[in-house]
Symmetry: C2
Subunit: 559 residues, 2 copies
């Protein structure tokens, strides 16, 4: 293997795209570059010149030209920063938010770039957090339950309004002319691969997690789609594809045009597209069963590998080849974590604390951590249910809400802060136990994302609450590193890359030296508190007391 070969990973996020240039031998991240999307998240009005088309509240779109601009800006930038010749870049991989999808013509042109459709919001990219397709998701779920569709179990019994067919169905419902004009309906991730290679090759990750596809059973049957709406009957064969390529495959090679965009050589290997959370797993060194990767930020994605397909309560999905080829990739999630802490910081911190933090040049999180870290578990007397943003796993219920119990006149902000962090750790423990109950073991945790960097107390609490070692990915741009690893695999060993993602992970992925190990004394107290958490979890989450839903109903009626 050559000592001086490189791969590039491009991570397409919600607000920006980021390229990282990585040495294939060592995994060293040589250079990175970020492009903030010109049109960002389009959630108020379409970015039209001389025209105004406003969007409804739950909408969230993107502009596909921002993806091309990301390639045009960031890849030349990392080549330049690193002083690396294009000839030494052997492969490129990308990862994306998902489901982020768009309608295109047969030649790949997004409908929003066709003048006659440009004013129609349905012609644009529907971003993952576009939430306007709930009515269609409801029909999808009702029909699946009525027909006893067995694929529903792979998704914890519920399809999200964020997913592929909810969005596709919304186009048909609200803009049948766009649906008719769409030769293709495609994940943005696969669309970018198409732009890079000239070939429409769809990946197993988004197909599996977002479009109800499985390696063994394929898509749901046509008559299921017909039951939703007769016009949907042939959606797969007419506008999508049954050829799904596993993660780790090579998609093709850079076209002349893509080479011109990026400054890379025509013919450079391009990997099958991937999803940001999923591509982080091998980048966090995990290619085997038993080690759960947690992408920790505003929310947590829990990724885990298994050798068999098991039904686990409240999972977001289980997909063969969905994360690592040859294994079943499980995904679970907590819908509110960092954003609960941010809510608390924005709404509940007294002036005095801000002044203290300022005087000492500390961040407010730092000040709170300093005050809370010395507490023994349970000393604040509080317990919370971490449902400020609903509960994804294992209850799959967006109508649940947050609870805090145990407050007294002596309760301080740092007490609540610690209790909120603990509540999210209990939420993770529920997920771990749901996996283990169904025979999918979790022996160790590996973190990546923004939170682990910022809050050591949080990491220790997670270790203590779950009773498991908690390690941290060395990279601060884990998804892009993962994409670069897949790029190196697409290039292959001969070219200076790797034969498989397993090999790539061995050489390119790395953990920090620090390990958060459970403290047995703390664990013992947390076991008691967790028992109380579970009891409240079941009481409020499983129908013992539906007050949270009643409060939301009364709230909605009042508004």
């Amino acid at each position: 293997m050559s000592a001086h070969k490189y791969a590039i990973g491009v991570d397409f996020g919600t607000e920006s795209g980021r390229a990282v240039l990585v040495a294939t031998r060592t995994g060293e991240e040589i250079a990175s570059s970020v492009y903030p999307y010109q049109n960002g998240v389009i959630d108020r009005a379409l970015p039209l010149e001389n025209d105004t088309v406003e969007l409804d509240p739950e909408w969230a779109l993107q502009d596909p030209e921002d993806y091309i601009r990301t390639l045009q800006r960031t890849i030349p930038a990392v080549l330049k920063k690193a002083g690396v010749k294009a000839a030494n870049v052997i492969g490129i991989g990308i990862d994306f938010t998902a489901c982020t999808m768009l309608p295109t013509q047969n030649n790949g042109t997004p409908l929003c770039m066709v003048p006659e459709f440009r004013r129609n919001p349905h012609a644009w990219v529907k971003l993952w957090k576009h939430h306007a397709a709930q009515p269609e998701a409801d029909i999808i779920n009702t029909a699946a339950r009525e027909r006893n569709e067995n694929w529903l179990d792979r998704y914890g019994g519920k399809i999200s309004s964020e997913w592929f067919f909810s969005k596709a169905f919304q186009i048909l419902d609200e803009a049948p002319e766009i649906y008719a004009a769409a030769d293709r309906l495609i994940e943005a991730a696969d669309w970018v691969i198409w732009q890079l290679t000239g070939q429409e090759k769809r990946n197993s990750c988004t197909a599996g997690y977002k479009a109800m596809w499985s390696k063994r059973e394929g898509y749901p049957p046509n008559d299921y789609f017909a039951s939703l709406d007769p016009r949907l009957k042939n959606v797969i064969d007419s506008k999508m594809s049954r050829n799904i390529y596993p993660i780790g495959d090579k998609a093709g090679e850079l076209t002349a045009q893509a080479a011109q965009w990026t400054g890379l050589q025509e013919g450079t290997a391009v990997a099958i597209a991937n999803v940001d959370a999923h591509v982080s797993v091998p980048a966090a060194s995990v290619t085997e069963t038993g080690r759960m990767v947690m992408i920790m930020g505003t929310s947590i994605c829990h990724m885990l590998l298994g050798e068999e397909e098991r039904n686990v309560e409240g999972m977001c999905g289980v997909v063969e080849d969905g994360i690592i080829p040859g294994l079943f990739g499980y995904e679970a999630g907590q819908s509110g974590v960092g954003d609960i802490f941010a809510w608390f910081i924005n709404n509940c911190i007294p002036e005095e604390y801000h002044q203290k933090a300022q005087q000492r040049s500390l961040g407010i999180h730092q000040l709170l951590e300093e005050k809370a870290v010395r507490q023994k578990p349970g000393a604040h007397g509080l317990l919370a249910l971490d449902w400020w943003n609903g509960n994804r796993s294992v209850l799959v219920d967006v109508d649940l809400s947050g609870l805090l119990i145990g407050a007294t006149l002596r309760t301080k902000p740092e007490d609540i802060y610690r209790a909120l962090i603990e509540s999210t750790a209990y939420g993770t423990r529920v997920i771990i136990e749901a996996f283990e109950k169904n025979g999918v073991n979790v022996n160790e945790l590996v973190a990546c994302g923004g939170l682990p960097e910022k809050n050591k107390m949080l990491m220790q609490i997670y270790a203590d609450v779950t009773g498991r070692d908690f390690k941290v990915s060395a990279s601060q741009q884990t998804p892009a590193l993962g994409s670069a690893m897949f790029g190196a695999v697409a290039a292959g060993r001969q070219a200076g890359g790797y034969e498989s993602i397993f090999d790539a992970a061995k050489h390119m992925a790395r953990l920090k030296n620090e390990v958060y190990r459970p403290n047995p004394a703390c664990q013992k107290i947390y076991d008691q508190l967790y028992a109380e958490y579970l009891r409240l979890y079941d009481y409020f989450g499983r129908g013992g007391n539906t007050v949270m839903k009643t409060l939301k109903r009364i709230r909605d009626e009042a508004q």
Copy 2:
């Protein structure tokens, strides 16, 4: 009746004493004067010269000389301010915090003023909020339950550590030499009357509410006291008195010395002592059944009159002649109200709100009220259990704690503020329903105290939640006015006063013109929310889920 006669009421509070001079014909408050106690609440060390005696954490004492100084400072001050001659002041009444008690010699000298006992904390006045007698209260309760003492029902089944025999028993336990030296154990209220008149005359209010006395049954039997400790057997006959004088009686007349202290005439009529909350009832114009007086401040005292003795769940007490002669006075309470709002203000208001309030020269309560008052009931989606300071009525459980449910990432501070206010209104509704369930009607609410002045939104919420008209006492110093009214009754009609407290209330007590009336639309929504409150109340308060107690146990073990 002369047009220019006056009475003086003196209200002995926790931090200060206040005198108000009132025109007997109209109830007009002509002048007032406050004396902040020199030694305030003594909770760290005794106020000794050249010596240090520190107190344990739960202790709270007062200095009886502060009471005398209050008389010496405030009464001459109001005479002077008002330009009223002593000859035209026909009577004086006092009210006190309770149970606030002290040991004295036979001549009335407090033991703390006797040099040999001055260094012993047990020789001083034990203030109502002295909480160090819990072990004795526990014994008192256990013994009463074991012996099926029927008086226990009059106190909601539980005697407080704040009450008379808990405190007396603590003296015996911890300082038998003080107990032995104490010829008398007496409420501070009665001690002040003794100082004013030269006669030890004990009032029916403190005897009934704080010392388990009743008009029909007297005190608990000697053998009950003996079961606590043989040395307590004759506590009533040896250190107290079985002669209890009903509220509304005349205690006696000012002695020459008291006349000298106060600048009043020797022989001025003095009323039997009273308690601050209880004396507020006639001052808030209530001398009949069916109208509940709520003294609203850091906590709420609920006072209600009935024609019969009924057992009402979780009452603080029911005492014949305890509030108004000839009627049964019921007392209930919420242990946290204004202090929950203060906790919230001190701990949970973001910097931005303080800045906005400052810019607009508003108080923070005003700013929050402005933001919250426009909300429709239920619009914030929150519900709270108002147990930050435990629950007095009807659960009588200090180990309960606060709960907030329904929080989302969109919850704002004003939402929580409003939910906390509402939760205290629900708490009052539970108390009202407990009364009515037992045949004691509550047709209307009358507020006095600090809160009603400050927060109109709160008043409207209470009206809407309880479905009852809510009126407000006109006086901002209701207890002192009530004491002056009893002073006028002690003086009698001949002297320019009144024959009874009923007559005095007709002429001297007044309500504000404003009435908060329930809004039927709001009431309907609050009925739904209250049903949810009740369900949580019962679940967490009556043993369905003991998590609040478990959290406090774990907290205490951690500390």
